[in-house]
């Protein structure tokens, strides 16, 4: 039986994409001018995130979104992160995701929350849901504890997986090959493919196709 259970926040537990969190933070900048700048960044990030074909680049969209937080204080990031988690994520969690989480808790597995969101948002969610480990992104801060707009490496991108992620998991004593992984998007497929027990939770079209091809279990349910 797997030792650990890895849950992807975006999709598996929450229907809200990371870009929404970045937009909300930018719209709550301290000064009105910064809010307007944030808005203009999202006017560009939107098509990159959900646009068709060649235009689509979710990783670049997120980088652009995070860059709009440049100059925001660490205090503001932390407090607004908590507010966002409480007001926009915890109240609308996926029932099926929560059910799977309870099952893993019952089996006393180590619980790992994976997210390409900022740690200031992922940590309050993880604390509320009882996760043991959180792997997420952190905003780089300057000497005055203000956001530079860049993420601190190693960056967790929308497409999870790869050696770097495995190394970060290993730092917490988690072996991906002895873990269950729950994901919902096509971008999670690399991670699911490396797990002992992959599971597609209410998958999008791409992941549904991959799950069918790979014969992974699919759990359906209502998201949020």
């Amino acid at each position: 039986m797997p030792d650990a259970a890895l849950f992807r926040l975006e999709g598996t537990l929450s229907p809200r994409p990371t870009l929404t969190a970045a937009a909300w933070l930018a719209l709550n900048a301290r000064r009105v001018r910064a809010r307007l700048l944030g808005l203009s960044s999202f006017a560009l990030a939107g098509p990159l995130s959900a646009g068709p074909g060649l235009l689509r680049d979710p990783g670049r969209a997120l980088r652009l979104a995070w860059s709009s937080l440049e100059g925001m204080s660490e205090d503001r990031l932390v407090v607004l992160g908590e507010v966002y988690a409480e007001e926009h994520l915890l109240g609308a969690l996926s029932e099926v995701g929560l059910g799977l989480l309870e099952e893993c808790k019952r089996r006393e597995m180590r619980l790992v929350l994976l997210s390409d969101n900022l740690d200031v948002i992922a940590r309050p969610v993880a604390a509320h849901l009882g996760f043991d480990v959180v792997i997420s992104n952190a905003m780089e801060l300057d000497a005055h504890d203000r956001a530079t707009g860049e993420l601190r490496p190693p960056v967790i991108g929308p497409a999870l997986g790869g050696r770097r992620l495995e190394e970060r998991l290993a730092e917490h004593g988690v072996d991906l090959r002895r873990s269950s992984v729950y994901g919902s998007h096509g971008a999670d497929s690399v991670l699911l493919g490396a797990a002992e027990l992959p599971c597609a939770v209410t998958p999008d079209r791409e992941l549904r196709r991959i799950a069918r091809d790979c014969d992974w279990p699919v759990v359906e349910g209502r998201l949020g």
């Binding site: 709550n28 301290r30 000064r31 204080s73 503001r76 407090v79």
Partner: protein, 546 residues
């Protein structure tokens, strides 16, 4: 090196200012953490309708500052009080603190130190009152200390005696040299200020007239500023330090806290009393003060009252062990700096987190949670509109004042009475708004030196060096602990809720409810009055010796 507990073992202190914010917390802290202390004589002023003993008893029975002691000792609190406390009726403004010579002759030989916490903390007090309480009162405390065997005086001052200076403020006193480098004599300064105030009183037809008070404050403030102190509070505290430092009949340790604010943990998180510096700032910034005349990166030197109590305990312990430095500054800026910008940001975030001042409408609440205060340079930023808004409101109010329905409304207008009533109502509202804007601007102006003009960095080397020498156990109990303070947690979870509970109601004209009184079961013991032994006389004038 002798520890804190050892320094206090069996010692007898005379403490003034117990009824004040810091005095209460410090005495409670001592009683709770230092059972070794021998005795504390509390010098308290009686009121017309309440004796000193009754005032002390009431504080022990209901002040939240004493709550941990009430919880800890329950019905047996009176035993502790009778074992450790005695009350002496007195008055800092009177010679020898108002202690009669016979009582003092009996008490003084038993005292190990005088700790003088009493003082006025208003920024613009009547200068005569400020001199009498803050300077003459300190000299009276020194007169009492001079009669004790070891002549020890701990004088609680303020870091802001530094006056109008920028940058590092060392822990030194330079007697006779004012903050701007002017040489002066503290005694002569008081004489000339009294004389100038007497002239004002004469001109205005007596000291009780409002114009006379205004005149005295104005002339006193000008004198303070001529020497480099921004206001009468810092001037009077500064004069006291200079006058005390010039005396050679007492050994003084100056304890200088910076801005004393809500307790971090003792007596409990958030405890505050009265209107302190941050109260009006938080009140305005959690309201509609979107542009605040502060320098964003200047240090906002706040220290929780219980941290100050720790620092004071270390200073008194060192003075009792005859190794105290002359000055101990209790501040935060040189090792855990908090800025005005951060205070504004955290206040706005607290509003976002659900803290909204009471009495605001749903629309105002929505606005408040989405428009955050920012600091601005008063001189350079043209978006500082408060003075202009005040003038405009005043102008409009004055236009409405002389409204006459028959003169200003054309003939044939129906409902003239209704229109007149509406105009009168508008006049009243404009008058109220104008007064509010004026008082806000006055607050900002009185705070301006500390929040805008000068960026202080008070050295706290002495208290931190002493903390480093403490044993692990004593460091936990008495050590300076500000390095470990998270300003975000303190400001949002302690300071703002504390101000909201204990201070801001006063700004809204409401009372602050204390604890439900618990019957102490008896009075704290009073120091018995004694006659002076035959053949001995005492000079009672300030600075006089037996």
């Amino acid at each position: 090196m002798m520890g804190v507990r050892e320094s206090f073992r069996g010692r007898h202190l005379l403490v003034t200012g117990f009824t004040g914010f810091l005095g209460k917390v410090w005495v409670a802290f001592l009683l709770d953490h230092l059972e070794e202390v021998g005795r504390i004589t509390l010098l308290v002023r009686g009121r017309r309708d309440e004796s000193a003993v009754a005032r002390v008893r009431a504080i022990f029975e209901s002040s939240p500052a004493l709550r941990p002691l009430r919880d800890k000792h329950g019905d047996r609190l009176l035993e502790l009080v009778r074992d450790k406390i005695e009350v002496l009726e007195g008055d800092a403004k009177r010679p020898l603190l108002g202690i009669d010579p016979g009582t003092l002759a009996h008490l003084a030989p038993r005292l190990d130190a005088v700790v003088h916490c009493a003082g006025l903390t208003d920024f613009s007090p009547d200068p005569i009152q400020a001199i009498d309480v803050n300077v003459i009162g300190a000299l009276h405390a020194a007169d009492v200390a001079a009669r004790t065997p070891d002549r020890r005086l701990v004088h609680v001052s303020t870091c802001f005696v530094a006056g109008e200076v920028d940058g590092d403020v060392p822990e030194v006193v330079d007697p006779g040299v004012s903050p701007n480098g002017t040489r002066f004599d503290a005694e002569m300064e008081m004489v000339s200020l009294r004389s100038a105030c007497a002239t004002v009183d004469e001109r205005e037809g007596g000291p009780r007239k409002m114009a006379a008070r205004r005149g005295r404050v104005e002339i006193g403030t000008k004198r303070a500023q001529a020497l480099g102190w921004p206001n009468l509070y810092t001037y009077s505290k500064g004069l006291a330090e200079h006058a005390l430092a010039a005396r050679d009949d007492v050994r003084v340790c100056f304890v200088r806290p910076s801005i004393v604010e809500c307790a971090r943990s003792y007596p409990f998180p958030g405890w505050n009393e009265g209107l302190n510096t941050s109260g009006p700032i938080v009140w305005m910034c959690s309201g509609f003060a979107w542009k605040v005349p502060m320098r964003a990166d200047n240090c906002f030197d706040v220290v929780p009252v219980d941290t100050v109590a720790r620092g004071m305990t270390l200073a008194v312990a060192d003075h009792l062990a005859d190794r105290a430095p002359e000055v101990v500054q209790l501040a935060s800026g040189d090792h855990n700096m908090f800025t005005f910008d951060r205070a504004l940001d955290l206040t706005a975030l607290k509003v976002r987190r659900g803290y909204v001042p009471s009495g605001v409408s749903a629309l105002e609440r929505a606005l408040l949670t989405h428009l955050d205060s920012t600091a601005m340079d008063r001189g350079a930023d043209r978006s500082y509109l408060l003075p202009a808004a005040q003038r405009a409101t005043q102008w409009l109010r004055d236009r409405f004042r002389g409204f006459d329905k028959d003169r200003h409304l054309p003939r044939g207008v129906a409902n003239k009475d209704d229109i007149e009533a509406k105009v009168k109502d508008a006049h009243l509202k404009l008058n109220k708004t104008s007064m509010l804007l004026k008082s806000i601007e006055q607050v900002w102006k009185s705070y301006q030196p500390f929040i805008h003009d000068f960026d202080y960095r008070f050295s706290t080397r002495n208290v931190r060096a002493r903390t480093a020498q403490l044993s692990e156990d004593e460091r936990r109990a008495f050590g300076w602990d500000l390095e470990t303070l998270s300003w975000r947690t303190y400001w949002m979870d302690v300071e703002i809720p504390g101000l909201d509970r204990w201070s801001l109601p006063l700004l809204r004209g409401k009372d602050v409810e204390g604890d439900e009184p618990v019957d102490l079961g008896g009075d704290p013991p009073a120091v018995p009055t004694r006659a002076l032994p035959a053949g001995r006389e005492t000079r009672l004038d300030a600075g006089g010796a037996e």
